[in-house]
């Protein structure tokens, strides 16, 4: 993903050094702020029509650019719609609460394959002890009149299989536990 991390800005507009060529010079407490984008520096002002939605006006000389937005925060997740683009952001703090946290507190990637949405388990394609490659299909789930195949996020061995064919799975239910073959698995 191109946006690997996003540092939130405090009132001073401080942005840590990143690989990105963009810099927010200052965010003022008020209507006007300054933003530097690849194409130049803008003065911005904000119009908020209701909580979470509105538009920015970015001014450069006589040009006033309009950027509509909507944002929705839900726990550790932030969904942004900005001018036709969608971004889903997730809190990266190590202390951050995991959504739907269960008792498992092991490491960055637990190797748990969870049902991403409620549905019926159509097929279980692996058994404990199997070795799977990255992207090997593990389970087929039927939900919303569609079949969804859950694949291994990394090369791993199958530790446990708690899913059985024909069973209804709740969202977030652990279906399969994997043990990654190499350390240093990517964070979730």
């Amino acid at each position: 993903m191109p946006v690997t991390h996003l540092r939130c800005l405090d009132a001073s507009g401080a942005l840590p050094e990143t690989a990105t060529p963009f810099r927010l010079e200052s965010v003022l407490k008020g209507d006007v702020f300054k933003i530097t984008l690849p194409e130049g520096t803008y003065e911005g002002s904000l119009t908020q029509t209701e909580p979470g939605t509105g538009w920015l006006i970015l001014c450069q000389g006589e040009v006033n650019k309009i950027v509509p937005f909507c944002l929705l925060q839900n726990g550790d997740r932030l969904d942004l719609w900005v001018d036709g683009h969608i971004l889903a952001l997730e809190r990266l703090s190590p202390n951050a609460r995991r959504t739907g946290a269960s008792g498992s507190a092991s490491g960055t990637h637990s190797g748990e394959i969870k049902a991403p949405l409620p549905g019926m388990i159509l097929n279980v394609l692996v058994k404990p002890g199997d070795t799977v490659e990255h992207n090997t299909p593990l389970v087929v789930l039927e939900s919303m009149k569609m079949e969804t195949t859950l694949a291994a996020p990394m090369a791993a061995t199958v530790k446990t299989v708690s899913a059985s064919e024909g069973q209804m799975a709740e969202k977030g239910m652990v279906l399969i536990q994997l043990t990654p073959l190499q350390e240093n698995a990517p964070a979730s």
Partner: protein, 542 residues
């Protein structure tokens, strides 16, 4: 109020009109009250059409759908106990009994659910209810792909070369037939649909396993293990013709729709006319003729669709008949300027088609995008949740058929189609440009949705050039390419993310002190990502 409207409408509908020689015809009256046995955007669309005609529109609602958009727009509602489709919208006998009790004269089944269920259509007829669709016998015959194909072949409609299969055929016979057809080929289920019971066979060694696997899958999915062989057409376009027939033997086609952009064997983007046929009107004429031949062979009544696939060389082959109103019918409505639901109602009420083939022509270009609660970046996985923000685009020649509104819950019980976005333009270029703008202004938040992805497809140079086929997304590695491309689109997204970083901070600073209590404000501020120096990561897991 609607009652009064409907009554007066009925009175006027029963008046006489004249033949060209001046002699009067007693026209049959229209229905006064019609049940829409469906949900979501298609129920909304049909209900609007009924009310436009002064007919009382009755909605059907399962328990999760009590507050759904299709209930809000109807005149009356029938509540069904239960949550799943099987407990509710598929309960044909229960629906018929409730419809009779409510004084309903006709049932429009929409698409999906009971729409292609010949037994349900027959049960309606037996209960003296008009089923708005073709005759049950036609539905039954077309539901069987082997029989449908045989009928079309006999009628002189080109079909994909293949073999119909035989009960208890030995694998030696299957192999012989496969060699005659040539590889690659498909093993398909007679009762199939949506890719189930279908296997692609590249080489003879794969044939036996594929034949048995398809039969097993067909047996478990449809209770019918019959399978057949068909030559595999590589990179085909999916082009279909809308047909209509009345009860007086009049048959017309309303030209084509191209639906080549698909994922999971389901259509995602449709357009009319087809870019391929725009360059080849002679092929359109031949396909239209074949569609009418097919309609005649079935003695078709009401609305239907003849689906064809077209190969690189411009050969076309019959695929199947859909005996219902299609999801993508609005692009035909726009290009031929007809309300297809209205036509269905007129025909079902026994009226003649109000035009002939010669009266019809295509005007301009229409495109439809299916706006779904799904995540293109994760295998188009459908998503559930509450639609916290929902702002469809507006403007000239933009039509949005929504089944939801802001605040709607998208549940696991039904499909993830939120809305259809349809635009029209005087030519394809204008329509594409308008669709791109409309998609960029479509806001839905609360779950993943596919409008930004659809825009990448619409803006893709090969789509713009009309070089479409059913493997378009896979061949162009969409959406993976958009997600990993380090330049272009992605950089733009990054810019936007930083922009939002700045503006959200400003929002938090400016939060008005009205309406919220001090404590809840403090709580919100504590939760706000912008008041902390924590790091956030894009592409959150769902």
């Amino acid at each position: 109020m609607s009652n009064a409207n409907a009554a007066s409408n009925k009175a006027s509908a029963a008046t006489t009109s004249q033949f060209s020689d001046g002699s009067p015809i007693m026209e049959p009256p229209l229905f006064t009250k019609v049940l829409v046995a469906n949900r979501g955007e298609i129920a909304v669309r049909i209900i609007r059409g009924l009310r436009d005609m002064g007919i009382i529109a009755v909605a059907l609602a399962s328990e999760p759908d009590r507050d759904a958009e299709h209930v809000r727009v109807a005149d009356e509602v029938i509540f069904l106990p239960g949550r799943s489709s099987a407990e509710t919208y598929l309960q044909g006998a229960k629906i018929i009994a409730l419809a009779k009790a409510a004084g309903i004269q006709a049932i429009h089944p929409g698409y999906g659910f009971l729409s292609e269920n010949a037994d349900f259509a027959q049960a309606c007829a037996d209960a003296n209810l008009t089923f708005i669709g073709p005759a049950p016998s036609v539905m039954r015959e077309m539901g069987d792909k082997i029989r449908a194909k045989a009928l079309m072949e006999k009628a002189g409609v080109p079909v994909v070369p293949g073999w119909a299969g035989e009960a208890d055929a030995t694998i030696a016979v299957v192999r012989e037939q496969a060699n005659r057809i040539g590889y690659p080929l498909l093993v398909k289920a007679a009762a199939g649909g949506g890719g189930k019971g279908m296997r692609l066979v590249h080489v003879p060694e794969e044939l036996e396993a594929a034949w048995h696997a398809a039969a097993r899958e067909a047996q478990s999915a449809f209770g019918d293990a019959r399978v057949f062989l068909e030559r595999y057409i590589t990179r085909p376009r999916h082009i279909e013709f809308q047909i209509f027939g009345d009860h007086y033997g009049q048959l017309v086609h309303l030209f084509e729709r191209e639906c080549s952009i698909q994922r999971r064997h389901q259509k995602l983007i449709e357009e009319a006319p087809s870019p391929a046929l725009m360059q080849n009107p002679e092929l359109r004429a031949r396909m239209g003729e074949a569609a009418l031949k097919a309609a005649k062979a079935m003695a078709y009544t009401n609305a239907g669709t003849i689906e064809f696939i077209v190969d690189d060389a411009g050969n076309f082959y019959f695929l199947e008949v859909n005996t219902r109103l299609q999801v993508e019918h609005p692009i035909t409505e726009w290009t031929v300027q007809q309300d297809l639901v209205r036509l269905q109602l007129l025909i079902a009420a026994g009226k003649p088609l109000p035009f002939t083939q010669a009266d019809l022509q295509q005007h301009g270009h229409a495109i439809e995008c299916r706006i779904c609660a799904e995540d293109p970046a994760h295998g188009f996985m459908p998503a559930t949740g509450r639609l916290a923000f929902y702002r469809p685009p507006q403007g000239p020649f933009i039509r949005v058929d929504s089944g939801v509104r802001e605040g709607s819950e998208i549940t696991v019980h039904y499909d993830p189609l939120l809305a259809k976005l349809i635009v029209w333009g005087p030519d394809r270029t204008a329509a594409l440009s308008r669709m791109s703008r409309a998609l960029s202004q479509f806001v839905a938040l609360g779950m993943p949705f596919n409008a930004p992805f659809l825009k990448t497809v619409i803006d893709h140079p090969d789509f713009q050039a009309g070089n479409t086929h059913t493997h378009f997304l896979a061949e162009h590695d969409l959406p993976a390419k958009a997600a990993t491309d380090p330049s272009g689109q992605a950089t733009n997204t990054e810019t936007q993310a930083l922009l939002v970083g700045g503006l959200s901070n400003a929002i938090t600073q400016r939060k008005p002190s009205t309406a919220t209590s001090q404590s809840s404000q403090r709580e919100e501020a504590a939760l706000s990502p912008w008041n902390t120096s924590q790091t956030w990561r894009a592409g959150a897991c769902r």
